[in-house]
Symmetry: C2
Subunit: 715 residues, 2 copies
């Protein structure tokens, strides 16, 4: 984590105890401060509390003490009863600080501040926000917001939320945290259309005190929540965020996140809107993957994937599909491949069984199409599903079906059929999902049927359904695989950092070698005779390089390659040192190395991301990096397994296993070399800005850094 | 087109006249043959005709002449009146041929055959189907099917369709053709949920006579149809399909297609289900792109993209977005970048104007977030949209909004607001789209509001909406760009094909050179002295290669590189010819070439796709092809512009413009060389199986084929 990130997280550090967060989300009585008939927000919050099951007391504060929303208000906060648990503040910006002061004076311990005009509008607002936070901290008040819509505790029917919540509010397993106010309503509406229930939904606002990470930590420990869904603009406290993610993965509570700011325009937009740091997007991918956070690209996928993750871990990656459409089978096959879903052949006994169920012209293969004959023999679908559920090759069964959209003249057949499917699914020893062909709403009637029959989760369309199943499969694998992962954090290592922040190459080489990173043999020499002696020892041809803290030595004639005779070495020594002096560098002499040829060039780099800290970049060297950007990233610390996986992800990975006449690499030794580099970076901590080995040449068992550059941050 | 494809298309060739297709889809009276209360299909078709506006006569034929679906039937086809235009045949498979005979005898000219049990079930069924087609052809009867659900002519309210059509059937601009029966209902249901109207929907069945291409051709000329949407399993008549696609592009009627069978499992499934050929999927991508066919990957995108394409061509690629959510802005920016949507900065005068509309803390940038203050000042949305519509930098405006889902207590405000937005959109001189945050249904109430207010097209969610807008932008560019494209087809060229189908390299080289493809200088020699003489002429170093029809000469020691002296050339000659003889080859001597170094290696290949015929593959040579599969494809014929674009698509394209110290390529000369190769393939026609130049070395202006292999198909 960077210093900047440390600063950013310090504010939320006081929220380590989760009890105060739990208290904020479970008030028994709520006071609306600034309640007025003139405010759309005030009306919405009041109605929400009344319409969605809040059984506690609702108090209104209006300076005139008049009737508001048909209920008598009090004129002052001090007039409120003593037992108010939560103040919902929607007073004008200029008086908000004073109001919050009075809230604290009255002994109220939690507040939602809806009011905007704080850090999001510029420096003046930011000052006001800091004053608000200072006050709250001093008075032990917990604030959600400002500039946020509040929360919806659907599990307990507590809904102090500033935008209208359409009925019905469906309670369920998904905890939702959003760094966007307006999209909270979009997510809520879409979840309702999908019949996906939520436990708690929180619109974070400015995160002046309570951060997204604090709410995540609360949800990790919340029994009503089986899966956490996030809409992220920026992560303000990366270390804590990742700690919570690790905890969630450890206890098997999945996190799915939509993180925006991928594109350059997006980064610009995010800056305009929140002023927050937006990390490099590929780093975000790497960080999330390493921590078992499922990333999705759309709000539809966020909700659909959360619905599937609520049933995770899945027992395995092998899916069996039952359809009544050959076209759907083909879409499933195409999209399944994209999403890494395994669609294995059915076991022979299953095919045998299916042959007896489906018409003779149907193929009893996975995915199975029972054909349009379903209209004649409706029981085929359930029978086929049962056969697929019983198949030992199948871990998860999916049946293409839909809930009825409107009440038919005779509702019983549809209800019976739904009940039979539900019973089959509940009796199955493996997960069973229902999937629609396309993403259309589950209508109110369909929802009623689903509730009555305790219907399985219905995935909205093949497109989003398979994305969700694929991501859930990946998460399940990450969950199962996590016990092998043991990233080590070694002791800090102190170094003398040069004033200009850069180490000359031979210094870097010596440093790397001293810490276990293999380096091509070299000799620092200070005259031509010593250069020749070194060359004789290594054997010809050799390379002679200027030893000086110059970044691009070859550009100034500081590197001479392929020297095959003592005379050539001698003149090379003279030439490179002269070139160094001509460039005004501090010349320490020259470095002699054996000339290598053959092997595969890798780049092993450590860079510092402003949000996530040290990131390991692995890539194929030369054109692979320069033209193809063929790199893969991992945030530190990493495990040996992760390094091995990362190397396998490179597009040029085949070159490491002997393609194109290369020698197959000694992968254990290669992983050792990368691990040593990563460990070293870990030990150097914040002082290390970047460390680039380019190339690391891999030639069978011979693995050597040929060039290295280390830059430091000034203390 | 291949011979196989020619065979496949011969059946539909008789449908060149589109009148008989138009006749089939516009019957004034329909007879249901095999009508019975016991059949779900019979009931569905009868109800569909009654419920969706068919005003013509419906006749029922049942062998017992009893009352069916509450209407008197006739016992025999011969008992039908004389004016029946269409027979809908749903009799049992064994009697279908006889029934169709009687249909023809009665003078009925069009038939839909719903009955299954034909080519889709195996050879016996295929025989029956051939007999059916022979009969129909002989009797001038046009058949849709068998094994198809019929069609829905929504424009004219004619719905002889075998699955229940839910109400309301929305008439509109999208013509839909599906090679899947069951998915037709899915598409229809989704289109209804999106309030997207269709003109004609056809479920193709087995395409025994009428093919997808025939229906496409009909739709190209159908004034009710503004866009054609296809669900494709396999294209049976590629040449005609592409001819129709070209015609559609020429007249500006977009085609959008979902083509399944991408994955290996998909290909297996498609084989199991249809027995049709499934082409290599990357070739399909290339073919579609070259012919302006928009390809999509989901049923949701198929319908949503069609809805946008109905408003195409778009005036340009620059989009202006109006939202009330910073989060939505960020999603739009991220996804817009994926889809190639341009989101330009607003003009200064627009920013100025927006500053006066939105609150001071809002940023007046594109996409604009008017902020949650919209709840206070609702007119901001329309005002901002007007400003964006007026912006000279914006070609298309998109406003994030939604239709009401349920009737509010006071319906007027929502209706007024919808009307104002509609008026603004209709008055605009550029397209205006409405986009929802997520994909949820347009409810019946919302549809009513949309109809009353003549509301703009509502895109279902940012995810699918931006995909549709991006694809529509690409189509509009293709439509505008098509006039530059003039692919030439040269005169056929006759060649003597060797018995084994492969030409020795030196023969291939001579052949290429004779037809304008630049080849590295070479000399065929038959003794060592001549080899030395050739080397002296070229200058050292040279390459000596065995001249014989051996595919991998270097594997048997038939290639000697870097020969720098007469002696080396002499022994190389002896060695390679000896190696050839040892391998049992017909040795014609050896080929001497100058040894080249430097330059960029390309692969230029022509391969034969079983469906689409000759495909040009361009790739970076060496590791680029072998490890990265860095190739791009074009079906022949191609234009020079397409070749230039294709070269630019290569991941290693930067190497052609001088990256990594390479010499920038003479692109005109390179395009010439590729064009000559493509032209040659066109002239050779079906006889050419493949032609591979690997490498074509490009070194500035020097462009030379260093190695070439041509394989032939036996006549």
């Amino acid at each position: 984590m960077t210093d900047l990130a440390t600063q950013r997280t310090s504010q939320s550090a006081q929220f380590d105890g989760i009890d105060r967060v739990a208290r904020l989300f479970a008030p028994r009585s709520i006071a609306l401060i600034g309640a007025t008939d003139k405010s759309w927000w005030s009306r919405a919050i009041f109605d929400n509390l009344h319409n969605h099951g809040f059984t506690g007391a609702i108090h209104l504060v209006n300076p005139k003490g008049i009737e508001v929303h048909g209920q008598q208000s009090v004129a002052a906060i001090s007039d409120l009863p003593d037992d108010v648990d939560l103040a919902f503040v929607m007073t004008p910006t200029p008086v908000t600080l004073e109001v919050v002061q009075k809230v604290a004076d009255h002994g109220i311990r939690s507040a939602v501040v809806l009011t905007s005009g704080f850090a999001e509008v510029g420096e003046e607002g930011a000052q006001l926000e800091r004053a608000l936070v200072d006050l709250a901290r001093e008075r032990d008040l917990t604030i959600l917001g400002p500039n946020g819509n509040g929360f919806i505790n659907a599990a307990d029917g507590i809904t102090p939320y500033g935008l209208t919540i359409p009925s019905p509010l469906i309670s369920g397993p998904v905890g939702v945290v959003l760094q966007s106010g307006a999209l909270a309503s979009a997510v809520l509406g879409f979840a309702q259309a999908r019949n996906v229930g939520i436990s708690l939904l929180v619109s974070m606002g400015n995160e002046s005190m309570l951060t997204m990470t604090d709410v995540m930590r609360h949800l990790v420990h919340d029994d009503n929540t089986k899966v956490i869904a996030l809409f992220i603009e920026s992560v303000r406290d990366p270390d804590q965020f990742l700690a919570v993610a690790r905890e969630a993965l450890a206890i098997g509570k999945p996190i799915v996140a939509m993180k925006v700011g991928r594109s350059e325009t997006g980064a610009r937009v995010a800056k305009a809107h929140t002023g927050s740091l937006v990390g490099n997007d590929r780093v975000v991918d790497a960080v999330f993957r390493q921590h078992g956070i499922v990333r999705v690209d759309s709000l539809e996928d966020l909700v659909t994937t959360a619905a599937v993750l609520a049933h995770c871990p899945l027992p395995g990656p092998r899916f069996g599909f039952v359809t009544a459409s050959g076209g759907a089978c083909e879409i499933i096959a195409d999209r399944g491949e994209d999403e890494g879903i395994v669609i294995p052949p059915f076991a022979p006994e299953t095919e045998e069984r299916l042959r007896e169920i489906v018409p003779p012209f149907a193929s009893p293969h996975n995915p199975i199409d029972v054909t349009g004959y379903i209209l004649v023999k409706r029981e085929m679908m359930a029978q086929s599903l049962q056969a697929v559920v019983d198949d030992p090759n199948v871990d998860v069964a999916v049946v293409m079906a839909d809930l009825p959209r409107e009440e038919p003249a005779d509702p019983l057949p549809a209800l019976d059929s739904a009940t039979r499917l539900s019973e089959l699914a509940h009796a199955a020893r493996k997960p069973v999902f229902v999937m629609q062909n396309t993403l259309t709403d589950i209508t109110p009637y369909g929802r009623m049927v689903a509730e009555k029959s305790d219907y399985p989760t219905v995935l909205g369309g093949i497109e989003h359904g398979l994305t969700a199943l694929g991501r859930a499969t990946q998460w399940s694998a990450a969950y199962r695989g996590q016990h092998h992962a043991t990233a080590t954090q070694s002791e800090p290592l102190a170094v003398d950092v040069p004033p200009d922040g850069i180490w000359a190459e031979h210094v870097a080489a010596g440093f790397l070698q001293a810490h276990g990173v293999p380096v091509v043999p070299y000799r620092l020499v200070t005259d031509a005779d010593a250069a020749v002696a070194a060359a004789e020892e290594f054997g010809y041809p050799v390379v002679v390089k200027l030893a000086a803290d110059v970044e691009h030595k070859s550009d100034i004639g500081g590197v001479k390659l392929g020297l095959a005779s003592p005379q050539a070495v001698r003149s090379a020594y003279d030439a490179v040192t002269a070139a160094g002096r001509a460039a005004g560098a501090q010349v320490a002499g020259a470095v002699v190395q054996p000339q290598r040829s053959g092997g595969v060039e890798l780049l092993v780099g450590i860079v510092t991301d402003p949000v996530w800290g040290h990131v390991l970049a692995l890539g194929m060297g030369g054109i692979w990096v320069e033209v193809l950007s063929d790199t893969t990233l991992r945030v530190l610390p990493v495990t040996r397994d992760e390094i091995r996986t990362a190397l396998g992800e490179l597009r040029g990975a085949a070159l490491l296993s002997g393609a194109r006449g290369t020698t197959a690499a000694d992968m254990d030794a290669l992983v050792d070399a990368v691990m040593a580099t990563a460990d070293l970076a870990g030990r150097l901590g914040d002082r290390l800005e970047s460390l680039e080995i380019n190339p690391l040449v891999v030639d069978g068992t011979r693995i050597e850094a040929l060039d290295a550059l280390i830059t430091w941050r000034q203390p």
